[in-house]
């Protein structure tokens, strides 16, 4: 990557037009959420923005008295944590398997990523019927199984990109110096993948935390957070639902920002500029690759 844009010359209106369209994209992606966040700081009964001096956490405080909310929050936290705890090591093994494979790797990857394409309603429906047949009672555990299928393709993609930063030479050097395969894995591969392991864990947790369609079919007596929220959203708006939504947004944004910005920066603090450029490159690949689109095409395509 160079440090300059590829096209720096005059664009006959192309640059302003395209930049405006991109701004429009970002606006429709983010503006409603930000508006909701600001409106949730309005202490009044009716919605809308107020002057920053009147911002208040009234509705967030009111959330504290919502016991059903805390039940749902606890359920979602358990499910999300269990999903992340399982998805990360299973995803790591799958990424290592992909690297060890030769002819079958594209088929394997396609298979893993195809789970992203199946509508959540259908996956949830199928799984719930099967679990009922084998007499597994719906609980946090059944929701977690559904969420594992949902989070695993993301975890594998993130970890594959993390693994691609581990040069085979480095591992080979460790082996030359007498390390067994397990020692080389624990002392070389794992530390180099620390960042992507953390990313995979956080992403799996967030995907589970915000998942709705599968949980609808798999949930036991205790609702998860999105199910509870969906009910609240459709049953006459109490302003607490906006505070609730705002809290979810803040947590999600903070967690993703932590993964995307904080982690890489900490690493390159003591590196030379040339390395930093490499790192930018890796980060660029990471950001691209950690999206669903990235893996999926490759899956659909590589067969």
């Amino acid at each position: 990557l160079t440090l300059e844009p590829i096209i720096t010359s005059r664009t006959n209106g192309g640059r302003p037009l395209f930049t405006a369209i991109m701004a429009l994209c970002l606006a429709i992606m983010y503006a409603p959420s930000l508006y909701l966040l600001l409106a949730s700081l309005n202490p009044g009964e009716q919605l809308g923005l107020v002057a920053p001096s009147r911002y208040s956490l009234t509705w967030y405080v009111a959330l504290m008295n919502d016991h059903r909310l805390f039940g749902a929050l606890e359920e979602s936290a358990i499910v999300g944590f269990a999903t992340a705890v399982l998805a990360t090591p299973i995803g790591l093994l799958a990424a290592l398997a992909y690297r060890a494979m030769t002819r079958t790797r594209n088929l394997f990857f396609l298979f893993i990523l195809s789970a992203m394409f199946v509508p959540g309603t259908i996956e949830g429906l199928g799984l719930s019927v099967v679990l009922k047949l084998v007499h597994v009672r719906p609980s946090w555990f059944t929701v977690m199984i559904g969420h594992l299928l949902w989070a695993l393709p993301f975890a594998v993609t993130v970890l594959l990109i993390g693994l691609s930063a581990v040069k085979t030479n480095t591992v080979a050097a460790a082996r030359d110096l007498g390390a067994g395969p397990f020692r080389a894995f624990v002392d070389i591969t794992l530390p180099l993948m620390r960042g992507s392991l953390v990313s995979s864990f956080i992403f799996a947790f967030l995907l589970s935390l915000n998942e709705h369609a599968r949980a609808y079919y798999l949930v036991g007596r205790q609702n998860t957070l999105p199910l509870y929220m969906f009910g609240a959203m459709n049953s006459g708006a109490s302003p607490t639902i906006y505070a609730f939504s705002g809290a979810i947004l803040v947590v999600s944004f903070a967690a993703v920002a932590l993964v995307l910005f904080a982690a890489p920066r900490r690493q390159d603090g003591h590196r030379a500029e040339s390395l930093r450029r490499d790192h930018d490159n890796a980060f660029y690949q990471f950001s691209v690759g950690s999206s669903r689109g990235a893996g999926t095409i490759s899956a659909a395509a590589n067969r």
Partner: protein
């Protein structure tokens, strides 16, 4: 156990062992239920047990075509196609800015901004449109205060317009990211050469860039379309009275425990989506985008 088949020179069995846990999850939790659903969609409903019995019938597929269910299929596909079209049209300029017109550092930031929505609550983001588009929402207030309209515009919310807008906002990253990935594969020298030969920006864009990013555009369109087919929350939160989608229809059919019908709808959708991806992949070689993933 060999962890790096290439380095150790003997791939095969260790790779399979490493892949085993994920394969177990995908087969056990994904493939088996979907395959059973496909089989059970051909069984008949048993009113005695409120379940199904192994009497083979095509009745559920017959019912699929009745009660306006095929219209729901077409409506869902239509809104998904519209969403995918709008998303792709917006994504091409946005990805071009990232790929050609901005510095790498800023491009990285922009890619991050297009990645974040994957991991935030789709439910909250759809719900937020209610505040923006409602009778007393931001848009209507602005239109009235600028004197564009006297009374609030009704079709902004609880309409197909709101559903498509909500879906475009939610699934735009699916269209942007594949095009950005294709941009990373374009040789800069190609662009430089055309500049040297005197081509202006628009000539470069239409004659060189657009043909080169076509696979990314098709992939992006397809991803948005597929995801929009399967979603239900935008329709439920933003759609008009009586608006339906395939997923909502499945939920409704399950509420009256008509298992075979729900299974047949699900089977048809899964088969159509798989066929779509396979055909697109065979007609357009998309693979060059991801050649060096994980190697």
């Amino acid at each position: 156990m060999t962890l790096h088949g290439k380095a150790a020179g003997r791939p095969g069995r260790p790779a399979f062992l490493l892949a085993l846990p994920s394969l177990l999850v995908f087969v056990g939790v994904g493939v088996v239920p979907l395959a059973l659903i496909a089989v059970w969609s051909l069984w008949s409903f048993d009113p005695d047990t409120y379940w199904i019995k192994p009497v083979w019938t095509l009745a559920s597929y017959d019912a699929l075509l009745k009660n306006g269910r095929s219209i729901v299929f077409l409506q869902t596909a239509g809104l998904a196609a519209l969403t995918a079209t709008v998303s792709t049209l917006l994504a091409v300029p946005a990805a071009t800015v990232i790929g050609l017109l901005t510095r790498p550092r800023r491009a990285t930031l922009l890619i991050a901004l297009f990645t974040i929505p994957f991991f935030t609550s789709g439910l909250v983001r759809a719900f937020a449109w209610r505040l923006v588009l409602g009778r007393e929402g931001v848009v209507n207030n602005a239109l009235i205060s600028f004197g564009v309209v006297r009374t609030p515009v009704e079709w902004l919310l609880f309409s197909d317009f709101a559903v498509v807008l909500g879906m475009v906002a939610a699934y735009l990253p699916f269209a942007v990211i594949p095009i950005v990935l294709v941009f990373t594969r374009i040789e800069h020298s190609v662009i430089r050469a055309s500049q040297d030969l005197g081509a202006g920006f628009w000539r470069i864009f239409f004659s060189i860039v657009l043909p080169l990013i076509m696979p990314g555009m098709v992939a992006g369109f397809l991803f948005v379309f597929v995801v929009a087919i399967g979603t239900s929350m935008e329709v439920q939160l933003l759609g008009g009275a009586g608006a339906s989608s395939i997923s909502i229809m499945i939920n409704d059919v399950m509420r009256v425990v008509n298992f075979p019908l729900a299974f047949s709808i699900a089977t048809v959708v899964v088969i159509l989506l798989i066929a779509l991806i396979v055909i697109a992949n065979h007609t357009l070689r998309l693979s060059f985008m991801f050649e060096d993933l994980g190697t």
